[in-house]
Symmetry: C2
Subunit: 236 residues, 2 copies
């Protein structure tokens, strides 16, 4: 079966978390909107937002839900229920983290331009970098420490590890100064990034034109003014 | 088996979505932190944030993940995989909606006081009420219309319906003016709220002291200045 993925063609965004799993597993998939604007959906399929995945007759939306479906099928998640709950819980925490990374540049409204919320973005980004980001990094570093293996669940790579790779890649792009400094304190997370990037199929994908470059339309955005360590946000 | 729920004792918060499912199903559970400050966890259980649920040897966190685990066991979700994916997808969309409802009063940082981000909160709440809230309501009204039954999946009540009840209850509390007006356009959503509230075990729960009242420490908060329809946010 060929999976069909529907996601915005110009950004990595949430779709990238799905792409990484499909690519790492060597699954056959069609990234439909990259080459077509066919956007038709069965009427019964209620979709709030992209991405969605079509697998035969099944239409699934919500990134973490798609990964949960794909996980055991792509051998990127345990087969047993406790293991599946555990990797999904990690994925949902990454999803929370991702929203907060996004909201650094869009703290007021996702339908407004960055320029319309630049002042608020400076405050939110400062809080994210000083408070929230270290909290997430602490958490995942702790999970890795307890797992005492190479990946979040221990020995085997799961889709949550590929998502953690993506978080590190995105944060390096968006906040090179602050995250670059911070990352040194979390060697296990950096190691997961490097291990994932070195997996043969993932390495081939990352070097291919299928990997869209980070840019200022995506979730991770580089605005130098938001990446200013030590600068206090103005009291307002 | 008696489930043990761990959640902040003074607010409804995310824990309430779990409580509603347990109460509606008549499940035996201990809302541990309501009567004890015992907070111990197995060392292997990595928890980023409350709530978490202990079910025998299983420790689960992330609200939607807990509900996914409980769903089939409490007869509040289908047993088959497509049905479970579908109800979970709805729940994850409610989780996204809930974060946006929360961020109306905390758009800059969850660790800061409301008073420290009041100006930004006005802008974010205005965008939420004008743009995002109607989008979510449209979506769930459409799901109900297509289901052409009494609940989101059709005939049977699922944990996502109980969560939709909670969203309506919370929005009525937080934004009585704006949501009160808006809700009239979404009669199917209101009907789910009323049907859920009339289920015998849920009605008994809502009338009991186990139901914590909404308050200004929770996710849904009533600040009259954020509930001002028609007022434009200042350009900044």
């Amino acid at each position: 079966m060929t999976y069909r993925l529907y996601y915005w063609p110009g950004i990595q965004g949430r779709g990238e978390f799905i792409r990484l799993a499909l690519e790492d597993a060597g699954a056959r998939y069609d990234d439909v909107l990259r080459h077509s604007d066919e956007f038709s959906l069965p009427k019964s399929a209620a979709i709030f937002a992209l991405p969605y995945l079509v697998a035969g007759k099944t239409v699934i939306s919500q990134t973490a839900n798609i990964l949960q479906y794909l996980g055991p099928r792509l051998r990127l998640a345990p087969m047993n229920e406790p293991g599946r709950l555990r990797v999904h819980q990690l994925q949902l925490t990454i999803a929370d983290w991702l929203v907060e990374a996004h909201d650094t540049h869009h703290p007021i409204g996702s339908g407004l331009y960055y320029e319309q919320q630049k002042r608020e973005a400076r405050r939110r980004a400062a809080d994210f970098l000083a408070v929230r980001l270290p909290k997430y990094l602490d958490y995942f570093e702790g999970v890795l420490q307890r797992a005492s293996g190479r990946y979040l669940l221990g020995r085997a790579c799961s889709y949550a590890d590929l998502s953690l790779f993506q978080m590190v890649a995105g944060l390096r792009y968006a906040f090179p100064v602050t995250f670059g400094r911070l990352e040194k304190r979390f060697p296990r997370i950096s190691a997961v990034h490097d291990r994932a990037a070195a997996r043969p199929r993932l390495a081939a994908y990352l070097a291919s034109p299928r990997r869209i470059a980070f840019n200022r339309q995506g979730i991770f955005r580089h605005y130098p003014e938001l990446d200013s360590p030590g600068k206090k946000s103005k009291k307002t």
